[in-house]
Point group: C2
Chain length 257, copies 2
Amino acid sequence: MKVIVIGSGNLAWNLIEIFEQNPNIQLIQVFSRNAESLKTLSCSCPTTTNWEELSEADLYLLAVSDRAIISLGEKAQNKGLWAHCSGSVDLRDLPATIRRGVFYPLQSFTKGRKSSFSDLPIGIEAENEEDYQQLEGLASSLSKTVFRMDSSQRRIMHLAAVFINNFSNHMIARAQDIATEAGIDAELLYPLLDETLAKAKAMGAEQAQTGPARRADQATLDAHLDLLKTKDEKKLYQAISQSITAYYQKDKNLKKG
Amino acid sequence: MKVIVIGSGNLAWNLIEIFEQNPNIQLIQVFSRNAESLKTLSCSCPTTTNWEELSEADLYLLAVSDRAIISLGEKAQNKGLWAHCSGSVDLRDLPATIRRGVFYPLQSFTKGRKSSFSDLPIGIEAENEEDYQQLEGLASSLSKTVFRMDSSQRRIMHLAAVFINNFSNHMIARAQDIATEAGIDAELLYPLLDETLAKAKAMGAEQAQTGPARRADQATLDAHLDLLKTKDEKKLYQAISQSITAYYQKDKNLKKG
């Protein structure tokens, strides 16, 4: 299958790395509007910043920002299959004049950090069965977890992904800051972090919850608020603690009711 | 070393499991006020619910709630070393009439789920060097990460632990709920969860942050708020997104300034 990757960011970098290793995929070109960013890619295929130079391919993969998907989609011509990789853009946000699909790898990608694709869930959507098969074939040659997912399910999956990745990551960032600012090695927290994840997967995070907010232990909550230095940190601490307390209170009420 | 564990909850259960395997530790008794909970422990040593029956030991480990530490500490007699295991109780909250110390394993424990102690950071505090050595000897026979930590540092460590464990876990709980309520298998999120953790450790979570709040992508933030069903969920989503956006905005301002 002849594939063109459109984009040169975190996802494009990772797709190119994995495509070039895969004998089933013929990466024939990479397009990006950003010449500097194109140079950071290590692909052996031709690259271009000129939309007019886009080659003929079976599949054009839009590995760009949501906004760029819309604007580049509008410029897409009626040749080959066009698939975007976003969790939040609808299939129908691409113009109806082209063959359109979605290839959504559920991962947080970083340029320079190779992601493993073998267990990576990839959600596929297309308007007709033939296009679906084509995308599924590509996905299955990379990962053993490929599934059909329409745009509305994908939006929900993306929302869940924001909680599990973006929001958890921010909690880790705050914890690393709190330790580091107090002169404590943040790595001392990592066994706890590993166990947090292992427990949440093994028991379900609802059951695994511990801590002062879960116990509604106001004395410790107040002591922690006193320790936090900025308004910003206090606000965050309070919002999440209230959310935890309400979550288990609600649960209790439901059980009572 | 003759040790008595006071408590029968998540931490006590784990301490008893590990102590009984360790030839350096002689677990001679377990005390708990809760007879039912005592039965859930699998210790081969005598147990009691009667404070008057407490044996003579080198070390009394208070593996109980913060409130119980204070009230049991007041009943402690002047024999042996008394150490509590809490992140938020000060050494000086135990009465000055006893030899007092702290043995703080930085982990989230669950009864029935054996924690590994070998890499577990254990923070030690005591009033005199002899007592410190005694606690350090115990900790070192369980873990290779034992360090001196005073009450004020321990409070900060506990605060950081709340962010990295309690708060992250709540984000995972919400993500699992969002997926499950939409009929999506929450396990599809786990490769993303694994990578979140691996990236946060490898790059630092501040650098690893991605997502709509990081990009201040208001269209996606609004779309997610629309998808969330309850006021409670919307409030949480908004509070954390604002925190992320402000965190990187601040950073930008600092870099500018």
